[in-house]
């Protein structure tokens, strides 16, 4: 009985995998032979981030915690959900909050914003844990010093991505978190109005650093969190920072391979 169902199915499967369409996509058989296990890694642009073979201890979950991979996966999830959110969200003081309310009230079963927000929180934590793992296994040591540095920059970018995104719902939580966070920029030495030595930057009687041109102004695009800030953070959040992060991720992954793959005892 079972066979009568399965036989045509497996025949159809064979038909499909023998077809010109299938063989044009996958240029080798199932990865059950060693030859095909090598080919699958080399012929697939995504899988070829990995080597064909790797040290057994290195790929164990107890060693890597898969934390870097999880972080990258979260980045992809955030890119995808963020793209969908961009269809509905307008970065203006007038519409931003209303668009978020719309997303919440009028989209049946809509969880894109939830996926995006919780994913972002999770990514911050997984980046920290990835750093913890890399530190605790001494994987920053030669020859991986440079890649550790790239990783630190990626960690900072993750925080900045989360920080810029925090403003976009334009609710009380958002603007005051950004207000508090960006107040610190006022105290930048030399470049902030309330920073050490900035008062010494004068041209005759005119103070060169004021609330209209200091470091905080550069961050907010205004004297306080307002429309220019929203637009600035939106552009940085959706375009600027993800581009830089993606670029550095490419370097990071490339260097993992070039520095000898997942670390292990020499």
């Amino acid at each position: 009985m079972l066979n009568r169902i399965l036989a045509p199915l497996s025949a159809a499967w064979k038909e499909a995998t023998d077809s010109q369409v299938w063989t044009s996509i996958f240029r080798h058989g199932k990865p059950v032979s060693n030859r095909n296990r090598a080919l699958v890694m080399m012929s697939n642009v995504f899988l070829h981030l990995h080597p064909v073979k790797s040290r057994k201890a290195g790929i164990k979950l107890r060693y890597t915690w898969c934390m870097g991979g999880i972080t990258f996966f979260l980045f992809l999830v955030l890119t995808f959900t963020g793209l969908l959110l961009m269809f509905y969200y307008r970065p203006t003081v007038e519409y931003a909050y209303a668009d978020i309310v719309d997303l919440q009230e009028h989209v049946p079963l809509g969880i894109m914003r939830e996926l995006h927000r919780w994913g972002a929180h999770a990514m911050v934590i997984t980046v920290w844990l990835h750093m913890l793992r890399v530190f605790m296994t001494g994987s920053y040591k030669p020859p991986r010093e440079f890649n550790w540095g790239i990783g630190v920059v990626l960690l900072v970018l993750t925080l900045l991505l989360s920080f810029t995104g925090y403003l976009l719902p334009w609710d009380q939580l958002a603007i005051w978190a950004i207000a508090v966070g960006s107040n610190m920029a006022r105290a930048t030495p030399l470049l902030g109005t309330e920073g050490p030595l900035s008062a010494s930057l004068t041209l005759g009687d005119i103070s060169l650093i004021n609330a209209g041109n200091d470091a905080r102004f550069a961050l907010l695009g205004a004297r306080s969190v307002g429309q220019p800030t929203l637009l600035r953070f939106y552009v940085l959040h959706c375009v600027g920072l993800p581009l830089v992060a993606a670029f550095l991720m490419a370097v990071h992954f490339w260097r993992v391979r070039k520095d000898g793959g997942i670390s292990g005892p020499m």
Partner: protein, 373 residues
């Protein structure tokens, strides 16, 4: 009975007590490494979970912990504890192996295996599990949305996003130019400098504690205590006006905490000499602050040099200060860079204890030019 327990927890969560307990606990765990066993981990997590769950019945605790944007903090607490334990546990197991006949686990398993299927299946599984977790989390818990932004109505407390609350907590002890600008920069630079300062060739590519004690102790103190603990307490224990509130306390907006903090210059001129602070002009300000300037200068520029001296130059009782062997091993550049970064890091706990012990506000205070340390 329960009230007594709550009072005890509230007391123990105070900045002074919590920071001291956590630091001493961590140091003790590095000294008595048998605590990183499976049994003690189980006990620890059971206690933590029971404490957390039981506390949910307290309305004040629940109110703060159950705020949607505070959920990650609960994640941080459990995940950071777990993974720190996991890393230390594996490190200590490896140390036992290499102390005996064997080799570290990562060396035993150094044969190569096929990435398909051994690694790609793990990754696939991780993606599936993570997707499920995210979906369930998103279905169960709506993303927070408060009232529309109102620039005229600042909430109390106003808090930065949770991952920056360690920095915001630093604002209690340091001026914003240090807490908000200099220290974040130094954290980034310091982290990036680690591989270039650390010349210890051992412990590359496997978990260990014995072979990298100093590195691990310093890093985990920074990460666990100075970063994670401050993030957690900044989120859960800092209420209106950034006042401290225990986990079972109501966030009372009207609680007033007297601020009686004094500067080193006040200690010297007013309390010690019984004179008013020198006023008028640049040199008077320098004279006012000379002691503080001397202290900071000595800490940042003289102490590293002194610490590089060999042990026999130190009087008894101070020999632990000698870092001569690091100076020898690392060379002058690495040594001074590393020690300077370390001292900058330690300036936070030092300033914290000075505040708690002496109500010290600023060591050096030039409010005229916003230069306060």
């Amino acid at each position: 009975m329960i009230d007594l327990f709550k009072d005890l927890v509230n007391w123990a969560s105070g900045p002074t007590v919590l920071f001291t307990i956590a630091t001493l606990g961590l140091l003790a765990a590095f000294r008595f490494t048998q605590v990183w066993s499976k049994t003690s981990a189980k006990v620890f997590f059971a206690v933590l979970a029971v404490f957390y769950t039981a506390s949910m019945w307290d309305p004040d605790f629940f109110l703060i912990v159950a705020k949607p944007d505070n959920i990650p903090i609960t994640g941080v607490i459990f995940l950071v504890f777990f993974f720190t334990w996991f890393a230390m546990h594996q490190g200590i197991q490896n140390d036992r192996r290499s102390a005996g006949e064997g080799e570290v686990l990562e060396k035993q398993e150094s044969e190569k295996v096929w990435v398909w299927p051994d690694l790609v299946y793990t990754e696939m599984l991780a993606m599936v599990i993570l997707s499920i977790v995210l979906l369930v989390w998103s279905i169960l818990l709506a993303a927070p949305l408060e009232q529309p932004a109102n620039p005229a109505d600042s909430p109390n407390p106003s808090k930065a996003p949770w991952y920056f609350l360690g920095l915001q907590e630093m604002l209690v002890y340091f001026d914003p130019w240090l807490a908000g600008v200099v220290f974040p920069t130094l954290i980034i630079v310091g982290l990036m400098a680690i591989p270039y300062i650390d010349t210890n060739p051992k412990g590359n590519g496997y978990f260990t504690f014995k072979e990298r004690k100093a590195e691990i102790v310093i890093f985990l103190f920074g990460f666990l205590i100075l970063w994670c603990l401050l993030v957690v307490s900044g989120t859960f224990l800092r209420g209106p006006n950034w006042n401290f509130f225990g986990p079972y306390e109501y966030w009372d907006v009207h609680r007033v905490e007297p601020l009686l903090n004094v500067n080193v210059s006040d200690f010297f001129w007013v309390k010690l000499l019984g004179r008013p602070l020198p006023t008028g002009g640049f040199f008077a300000a320098l004279m006012r602050e000379w002691l503080g300037i001397l202290m900071v200068g000595a800490y940042l520029f003289v102490l590293p040099v002194v610490m590089s001296w060999p042990r026999d130059k130190f009087p008894t009782g101070f020999k632990w200060l000698s870092c001569h062997h690091y100076f020898e091993k690392m060379g002058a550049t690495r040594y001074y860079l590393g020690v300077s970064l370390f001292l900058m890091m330690m300036s936070l706990p030092i300033k914290m204890y000075l505040r708690w012990a002496f109500n010290l506000k600023y060591i050096v205070a030039f409010p005229e030019i916003f230069f306060n340390i």
